[in-house]
């Protein structure tokens, strides 16, 4: 009896030692190449199951509420129009034809004979209803549907005539959005409650939702009677991970075929060959990191001061520090890759000149003191530290304060921020959207710019239906921004997605907006 217990304790101690030495050993191997052998053929399941990992939380299938990702939405619903992620062209989806009959009228012809997953027919009323929900039910997002005058818009047969309140040339693009342009079944939604949007969404899309387990995963099964091109995957499972490490472990173990938006350090690991049998896809995040000078600040009324601040910032260095290999230095206020982007020039870095300008404006060393206030995020945190150091070089004292999102926003609304750092949050594909964040209609005073010349250019770009006119107007607006230093663009972040070589056709506009129904197996 005694011998047993004693030896049990010793054995346990040995086991513990073994566990930890093996664990320690592995973590040092990871960076240096030669990762674990891809022990599985589990990716190439004969029944074509696609498993995808993402860091976003599981979410509802209600397009007006869904806050994180459109991955699931794009499987269960179709959108009104579809934008090709590679060419940027608008293509038909639920709407067969579309056109601007005049600057404020859009005419759509909705396909006939399409059924929802519960057997209901798709009607133009469903399309109208889906758009109108954004103005009635949950109003926190506006994809531009508030711009529709619903009283004056009409439905005739399968033709919808939409009357816009203000002209909006990008309106059609707004009908392509993977999250907000989803068409829901009016009859079904009106007869059920929010619960129906959880795991029993009804849509016209290629898949039905079989299971949606909060905080864990969602499973989708292919519909046998999809009206469009049949996708290859029979089943798609999306796994939600609160922790990146866990997702990477599952990816390495071939539990996942695709790991979305993995962040810089894992991207570097993948580049170094840590993951066997892996392809990497880089996509822009459609986000821009910039430093903005609030117009309500007295000191910034002098262009010399603004120029001094701009010249103090070495944006290449900031980009490298914050995004490393996954960032591109910004050279315009618009994001590279979107329509109407024009390469204007990277912000000039000249600290000596900056000091001179500051002195000329009448500020002695360390006289100017500013507060930078922002919601705490790794990118903001890193960038603000460097900006603080760089401004200190030219004699401007920057105090940095951050907090969680909900705490900081009310303070920002109160104009407490004296130098802002901002991003769009990703997924901004339109010039008009980007400008709306900073133009005179912006609700964020710390980045709002109200200037006659700028306003005119932006207005012209936003409303003209002529692409050439828009290009010129927007181009001039971008140049204006470069010359006036109210907003200094720093970086265009990119995202990296990994996938095993057994799948192909991994594409989409952005990492978290992948079009999983196009994925094929090799």
């Amino acid at each position: 009896m005694k011998m047993n217990w004693k030896s049990m304790a010793l054995v346990c101690m040995l086991v513990v030692m073994m566990v930890f030495t093996s664990a320690c050993g592995s973590s040092s191997e990871k960076g240096g190449g030669g990762g674990t052998p891809g022990g599985g053929d589990t990716g190439e399941s004969p029944d074509k199951t696609l498993t995808v990992g993402t860091l976003d939380a599981a979410d509802t299938f209600d397009p007006t509420v869904n806050s994180s990702s459109g991955l699931g939405l794009s499987l269960v619903y179709d959108t009104i129009l579809y934008r090709d992620p590679e060419s940027g062209e608008i293509k038909s989806d639920l709407a067969e034809t579309w056109e601007f009959s005049d600057p404020t009228t859009v005419v759509l012809n909705i396909r006939e004979g399409i059924k929802f997953s519960n057997g209901d027919d798709l009607t133009p009323e469903d399309v109208m209803f889906s758009m109108q929900r954004f103005t009635t039910v949950n109003t926190q997002f506006d994809p531009g549907y508030a711009n529709i005058d619903y009283d004056k818009s009409t439905i005739e047969g399968n033709k919808i005539t939409l009357k816009l309140i203000e002209p909006n040339p990008d309106f059609l693009l707004g009908l392509c959005n993977d999250r907000w342009a989803c068409v829901v079944d009016k009859k079904y939604v009106e007869s059920t409650e929010a619960e129906a949007f959880w795991d029993k969404p009804v849509g016209t899309g290629a898949y039905t939702c079989v299971e949606n387990v909060a905080g864990s995963h969602a499973t989708f099964a292919k519909k046998s009677d999809y009206w469009g091109t049949a996708p290859e995957s029979e089943t798609i499972t999306i796994n939600y991970y609160p922790e990146l490490t866990t997702m990477m472990v599952d990816y390495e173990n071939n539990v996942l075929d695709i790991a979305l938006d993995i962040g810089e350090s894992e991207y570097n690991n993948a580049e170094n060959g840590s993951y066997a049998d892996t392809e990497i896809k880089i996509l822009p995040a459609y986000d821009i990191l910039s430093v903005a000078l609030p117009q309500y600040m007295e000191c910034f009324k002098d262009i010399k001061v603004r120029r001094a601040v701009a010249m103090a910032l070495d944006v290449e260095a900031i980009n490298k520090a914050v995004y490393g290999t996954l960032g591109t230095t910004a050279d315009s206020i618009l994001i590279k890759g979107i329509e109407f982007y024009k390469s204007i020039g990277i912000n000039k870095y000249d600290p000596e000149q900056a000091k001179k300008l500051l002195a000329e404006a009448g500020y002695s060393e360390n006289e100017l003191e500013l507060l930078m206030l922002f919601p705490s995020m790794p990118t903001n945190d890193k960038a603000s530290a460097i900006v603080q150091a760089q401004l200190a070089e030219i004699g401007i004292k920057l105090n940095v304060d951050s907090g969680d999102f909900a705490t900081v926003i009310p303070r920002l609304m109160n104009n407490e921020c004296e130098l802002a750092i901002s991003g769009t949050g990703g997924g901004t594909y339109f010039a008009s959207t980007i400008f709306s964040l900073i133009d005179k209609s912006s609700t964020n005073a710390s980045i709002r710019i109200n200037d006659d010349e700028f306003n005119k250019l932006v207005e012209e770009g936003n409303t003209s239906l002529d692409t050439a006119v828009r290009a010129e107007a927007y181009g001039k607006a971008q140049q204006w921004m470069y010359d006036n230093y109210w907003n200094i663009p720093i970086s265009y972040p990119n995202t990296a997605t990994l996938y095993h070589s057994n799948v192909d056709n991994v594409k989409g506009i952005a990492a978290r907006a992948m079009d999983l129904k196009f994925v094929t197996f090799k």
């Binding site: 674990t36 926190q140 997002f141 909060a214 905080g215 472990v249 173990n253 907090g403 926003i409």
Partner: protein, 327 residues
């Protein structure tokens, strides 16, 4: 007995009301604003006001509190999540099972390993076994929870691929998370058992038991352990609360859909109804566990059992004791 249990159950009510009140108060005082969080980065004053009314946050504190309590008691309605618009009660029910399961299995692991280790440690004080057990307990007690969880995952999910790193499918996915929670808990139980047994083993009735010619095993287990149990059971009850609230880390790392991750997301989003719902469930769970612990005391220690029974038999027995002094 029923009276005792009944009284304890009734006590749950003021405790729960108090817990809800505290959470409500904290939510009201804390600087974050759910309206801003929901509206996103920027908004007009009008949008803000509308949203506030929509969420019912324009009403005064007491009115909201009273309404909330009434809804729970009459309908079991815990409100609606600000972010997902689903009923909070549904979300709580979905996630509760996972957290509870991990907590219970962790405790079982800790008891099954901790008790014998503690007993050996006490019986063979200062021997190699005792030192080994003490060192291992200290090692586990000092490890940060998330580090232990990550190490286990790297060791057993990546290097030696026996257990999955995430999810809740099949019994295998529970092993690593429960180990991660349970191992640090083992240390506490082992040390408590050791110290309690050390006390008991020095007692006279242990010597009496040996003098009866009983074998050592019976002496230690039947006579020793039963008397050592009370502080150990107390510790278990207390630690259960800590386990439940510390579940966030394990759930996050192993991607388990439990109350912990639900609460974390809710706190980040200032999703008040969900936060309040989680707190209520956790508080209720801890109260119930403590009640069970108290009942278990009764089975272990007959003096406590009598108090709980407060029955006629016990009263008669007390009279007898008093009378016996005259003997």
């Amino acid at each position: 007995m029923l009276k005792f249990v009944g009284r304890r159950v009734l006590w749950l009510i003021p405790v729960m009301l108090g817990a809800i009140f505290i959470v409500f108060a904290i939510n009201a005082i804390d600087p974050g604003d759910p309206v801003s969080a929901l509206l996103g980065g920027s908004y007009t004053q009008e949008q803000y006001d509308d949203k506030k009314i929509e969420l019912g946050l324009d009403k005064p504190f007491i009115v909201r509190y009273a309404g909330y309590v009434k809804d729970i008691v009459t309908d079991g309605d815990f409100g609606t999540s600000y972010t997902t618009k689903r009923p909070v009660s549904t979300e709580l029910v979905e996630r509760f099972g996972v957290t509870f399961k991990v907590a219970v299995i962790s405790i079982l692991i800790a008891i099954v390993l901790g008790l014998p280790f503690g007993i050996i440690s006490a019986v063979k004080q200062y021997s190699i076994a005792d030192n080994a057990v003490t060192i291992i307990s200290l090692v586990f007690a000092s490890m940060p929870g998330f580090w232990l969880a990550l190490m286990l995952m790297l060791a057993f999910a990546l290097n030696i691929k026996i257990f999955p790193a995430s999810g809740i499918e099949g019994w295998k996915s529970w092993v690593l998370p429960c180990l991660a929670s349970g191992l640090s808990f083992i240390a506490t139980i082992t040390r408590m058992t050791r110290s309690s047994m050390l006390d008991v083993v020095r007692q006279d009735y242990i010597r009496t038991a040996r003098a009866k010619g009983l074998d050592e095993r019976t002496v230690i287990v039947k006579h020793g352990v039963r008397n050592a149990l009370i502080p150990i059971i107390t510790t278990i009850g207390f630690q259960f609360g800590i386990l439940v609230s510390g579940s966030v880390i394990v759930e996050t790392i192993f991607s388990l859909p439990g109350l912990g991750t639900l609460m974390m997301t809710a706190i980040n989003n200032r999703d008040y109804p969900v936060i309040e719902g989680c707190v209520i469930i956790m508080a209720a769970l801890i109260c119930v566990i403590n009640l069970l612990v108290d009942l278990v005391y009764g089975f272990v220690d007959p003096q406590i059992m009598e108090q709980m029974k407060g029955s006629k038999k016990a009263r008669r027995a007390r009279h007898k004791t008093m009378g016996a002094h005259a003997l």
